[in-house]
């Protein structure tokens, strides 16, 4: 070792060998890289006249594919400095011996002669100059450094290096070299120096340089202050000019560097009182100084009120109260209440709810805002509707309000608002609608109010009673008299669900069957599918059971689908098939609906393909293949005036097809609702991508293929399979990935290939799975891994995404699953 810290050829061979054998390698390096490394090292040596270990590390990294570059740096460093972090060396390197022989043979057979030529050049350079003292000096300097690293100027110089490995890489072997390099690094940072940089710069005697070169007034002033120069005039100028942000940064830097003593700094901070004019500036001062300086609260709030919106000001006040212990929100709200007349409209209920605090001032302002909203609603043409909307808004805001006290205060206003809304009813229909609406959203109007208003509006006592008591008796009556629709009955059942027992359900079933009330039967079925079928069977035998099943379509399809996955085990075998048929039809229908609503067209734009045909009228002129056209005309021996439009040849265009292979994890915890969403998503894709190449499988320990790319499937058949799938077993992903790979390899013809895998990434067989991912990447398959947000192994999921060159996405709401998949497909194609 002399000019070169390692023999470049031997280094390159060793480097590639270790890279190839490393378990984290993403793109296996090619043999050509082994030549590129010594070539570049030699080139750099000829250009600079010297070569450092850092050059070796950098070149090893640069000649590696981007995904491998971090690993390449570590491996190169370990080869050059095997003792630097000996204990950290990966145990897997032990396996390299095994690969070594095979790799040597490969090198020898492929590129030995070019390596020999490079080696001759290296030998020639080494023979001319040999300076064995370089490394001895390096070692000695590092010994000195390790003893004096906490003394000046070593300590300050080292501040500009990330770690000691940078010194190794740059072959810094003397204090002079260290100081020179530290100076260079600090020069690069001027105009973005932090307080610690300034302190280190001062210790290295670089104050003058900073003051000359920096554009930033706070860097200059702080450097002066650290150097005990007078900053009096500079500070006066800053205050006089009112350059608030510069002033704040300067005070921050002066504080953090300790350049001024506490008293002097406090004096300067006290002057800020006249400078802080609004909440923005106060926030900036507090954020930078770590505390709120003295400020004129009255002036700050007064100014802010006119300058920015309520939400803007409140957010600032909130941050300041929360982090710096001020009481600005209260003062701000009081000021708003005081000056309400100045503003045409008070802050909205929404804004106030978002910014709720447990203070009287907030209550007062909220009250004002509510009054204003009521007044506006009562001025509307349909005041009953407007009041209903307002009540619902207040109800929703009450539920979403984060502050318990405010939420309670809001809740206290609801009964009055409900009453006002009922009063706004102009006829019995409006009153009924309002009462039902309120019950539906969980607000129960007072019976006395309903009674009084009902009488005022001329309703019969019976009508009023139904409105007042939505109880079992009422439900029974409605079912018996065949008067209510599915939605109304379902709402009623929901309201009294805790009171309902088995006998009552049985009684309701009997009544509904007797009165042939299909809406009532559907409502009972959607409440608890399994129990409802059993009860119908008990009450009226097979005929009743069939009647119930045939009524189920009255309710929402999605709910029935969920009911199926939740209760399917409880459904008696005699009717299971029939219910399944029904749910299947719903699943198919919903899949088609989702596909139309979310996936859009299944076809991408026209793409030229390598087939030409004669021009026909209407073809795009941009698609004329001039070369083929000219050739065609020449071959035909036509003269110019004999050329006709069909002598022109155009590229054939094809609608761009896409290949999507999807693997969905159904292991362990995939319960009813999740399976329902997966099934929905699957049918959506099967319909939406029916013209594309699509394959779908579910997997746990085994892989269940629902559709291969080249398989024509009937939606019906797949829906049937989907409804029978159950969650079970552990997660074995390799077989699913292998299946996906074979689908792409054997059956896919499209250029765009996308693999989507859904899993919680708690995987039993990660290592073999990684091999599959590498192959998928090599096949140019786009890879997306989706994991449920609350429960997945982030590390393994990230590793999988990285190795496949793909993307990791998370899912936080199961209802969003079909939408997320649709979004991915829309983005990717």
């Amino acid at each position: 070792m002399g000019i070169f810290p390692e023999n470049p050829c031997e280094f390159a061979v060793e480097f590639i060998k270790r890279m190839r054998g490393h378990p984290d390698i993403i793109q296996i390096p090619s043999s050509r890289q082994v030549l590129s490394i010594p070539k570049l090292i030699l080139s750099r040596y000829y250009r600079k006249g010297t070569i450092t270990p850092n050059d070796f590390i950098e070149i090893s990294s640069l000649t590696s594919y981007p995904d491998n570059q971090e690993l390449a740096k570590n491996i190169a460093f370990d080869i050059l400095f095997p003792n630097y972090h000996k204990d950290l060396i990966n145990e897997s390197f032990q396996d390299f011996e095994e690969n070594n022989g095979r790799y040597q043979e490969e090198i020898e057979s492929e590129i030995r002669s070019e390596m020999d030529h490079l080696q001759d050049l290296i030998d020639e350079i080494e023979s001319k100059t040999f300076d064995s003292s370089t490394f001895q000096k390096l070692e000695e300097f590092f010994d000195e450094l390790s003893q004096k690293r906490h003394e000046e100027p070593f300590k300050s110089a080292l501040h500009f290096f990330n770690d000691d490995s940078e010194l190794y890489k740059d072959q810094i072997s003397s204090i002079e070299e260290l100081l020179d390099e530290a100076r260079n690094k600090m020069m690069d940072k001027i105009n973005s120096l932090d307080p610690e940089d300034l302190k280190a710069g001062h210790s290295l005697g670089l104050d003058e340089l900073i003051q000359e070169q920096s554009l930033r007034i706070w860097e200059k002033i702080t450097s002066k202050a650290i150097n005990n120069q007078d900053i009096h005039d500079d500070m006066n100028e800053l205050f006089d000019l009112g350059r608030f942000e510069d002033l704040i940064q300067t005070l921050k830097f002066l504080g953090e560097t300790g350049a001024l003593n506490k008293e002097d700094l406090q004096k300067l901070k006290n002057y800020l009182e006249n400078q802080i004019k609004n909440l923005d500036q106060l926030f900036s001062a507090a954020k930078n100084l770590g505390e709120t300086p003295t400020f004129n609260q009255e002036k700050v709030i007064e100014n802010s009120l006119g300058e920015a919106s309520f939400e803007h000001n409140f957010n600032l006040a909130n941050s300041l109260d929360q982090y710096y212990g001020t009481d600005l929100r209260n003062k701000l709200l009081e000021k708003y209440v005081q000056e309400l007349e100045t503003f045409k409209t008070p802050p909205s209920l929404e804004d106030l709810t978002k910014n709720a605090i447990a203070r009287k001032s907030w209550n007062d302002l909220f009250q004002e805002s509510l009054h204003h909203s009521i007044k506006e609603a009562m001025n509307q043409v349909k005041k009953n509707e407007a009041m209903k909307a307002l009540t619902q808004q207040l109800h929703q805001l009450t539920n979403s309000c984060q502050n318990v006290h405010s939420s309670q205060k809001m809740a206290q206003k609801l009964p009055d608002l409900v009453k006002e809304t009922l009063r706004a009813s102009e006829n019995s229909t409006q009153l009924k609608d309002s009462v039902e609406f309120f019950r539906k959203v969980g607000l129960n109007p007072e019976s006395a109010d309903i009674k009084n208003l009902g009488r005022t509006l001329g309703m019969s006592e019976e009508e009023i009673l139904e409105l007042i008591e939505p109880n079992y008796q009422l439900l029974k009556k409605l079912m018996d008299s065949n008067q209510a629709d599915f939605q109304r009955l379902s709402n009623l059942i929901d309201q009294i669900r805790d009171q309902l027992n088995k006998d009552q359900i049985s009684e309701l079933m009997t009544l509904s069957l007797a009165s042939d009330n299909r809406e009532a039967l559907a409502a009972l079925g959607h409440f608890d599918l399994g129990d409802a079928i059993k009860t119908a069977q008990e009450v009226g035998g097979k005929e009743a059971e069939e009647k119930l099943i045939s009524s189920l379509t009255a309710g929402s399809g999605e709910n029935l689908l969920k009911q199926w996955f939740i209760h399917r085990r409880n459904i008696p075998n005699t009717s299971k098939e029939k219910v399944k048929e029904l749910v299947k039809a719903i699943l198919v229908e919903l899949g088609i609906y989702y596909s139309r609503a979310r996936l859009g067209s299944a076809i991408t734009g026209p793409i030229p393909i390598n087939i030409v045909r004669p021009f026909i009228v209407g073809d795009d002129f941009d698609n004329v293949d001039l070369e083929e056209t000219v050739m065609n005309i020449l071959e035909k021996g036509k003269k110019l005036n004999h050329i006709d439009y069909d002598d022109f040849l155009v590229y054939e265009t094809a609608k761009g097809l896409r290949s999507v292979v999807i693997e969905l994890d159904i292991s362990g915890s995939m319960d009813g609702e999740k399976l329902a969403q997966m099934a929905l998503c699957t049918t959506m894709l099967l319909y939406g991508l029916r013209k594309d190449e699509l394959a779908i499988s579910y997997f746990e320990s085994d892989t269940h293929v629902l559709k291969s790319i080249n398989e024509e499937v009937e939606l019906d058949k797949i829906a049937d399979e989907l409804l029978s799938i159950t969650a079970r077993g552990g997660t074995r992903i390799q077989a699913a990935l292998e299946w996906a790979r074979l689908e792409f390899k054997k059956n896919a013809n499209s250029r765009e290939k996308l693999n989507i895998i859904f899993t919680d990434a708690e995987i039993f067989d990660l290592q073999p799975a990684i091999e599959e991912l590498r192959i998928l990447k090599a096949m140019n398959v786009d890879f997306i891994i989706i994991c449920p947000e609350t429960q997945f192994n982030l590390q393994e999921a990230e590793k999988m995404a990285k190795i496949a060159g793909g993307q990791l996405l998370t899912l936080n709401d199961w209802n969003e699953f079909p939408k997320l998949i649709a979004d991915i497909i829309k983005v990717k194609f």
Binding site: L62, Q249, D280, Q281, N315, L316, P608, L634
Partner: protein
Amino acid sequence: MRDKEKFKELFNQALVKDVFEEEINIVLSGQYGKALELLRDAESTGLYPALVGPPGVGKTILCRYFASIRAKESQYSHSFHWLTMDESIKPSHFLGSFDPAITLNKGFVLDAFNPGPLLSAMLEGGTFLANEINRATEYSQNTLLEPLEEASISIPHLGRIKAHEDFFFISAMNPEELSGTHRLSEALKDRIKIWIKLTYPDKSTELDIIRINLPEHFTIEESELELIYSIINETRKNTVDIEVPASIRAGIAMAKLLGRKRYLEREHDNKEKESIYVHLSDIVKTVLLGSIKPKPGVKVQDIINRIINKILGA
């Protein structure tokens, strides 16, 4: 006719005859200085490099600057050709094509051939940049295999040419994980020997880039620049919600918009400057809306609101 004359005059005024005549505003500190050195190393060893980095980190400008240096230093390689790829790029866009009118008269002869940028660069010994190379289809990528491996290329009907010894090829691309890109074919990967990663530059370099891109009359305070950088940097820290964070261009755009607002305030002699926080809240909403790409399922507006809340307090 008069319009045609005017067009000719303007065209000739604006024509860049040689790449080194063009003034290129570039900051060469930090990663850019290193990348330039590496391009020089690559050139001297005949190894073809690729610049890899997210949109807006300065890959193209660096290549133009490198080409201009080559042009100044070499007696041959004055030319710089570049082609930005997408799916519609075909081999003839690289190589050139026959003029149908001349070909009909004279056949497939040299006179009838209009050379493309790659062929021109190969013959002139110039620099060719294949920009966004991983947006091209594999079919088009394959056109590059022969020039990169053998320094030659075959032109249909005319024959095969050897490239001038000064010919140099650079490619630039977005990282693979960004959507909308194809992968490089394994064959092409194997022929690109140096992979220069450019990422968002360090703070001091990025601030310098913003400074040199501000027109002289659009001055902003250093403290305002610091706030702009905090906002841009915040988008890069949030890798959970953001697929493509704000680029240097976004920082330049914010600084320019703020500079313009300040300029107008000065023009109208406004004694009271509007608060930086109010200005920046507006500017951030406008610029970031199109400058960041959220991950599927995340709303860009929510991200922007969070950033404004964190950095500007509101």
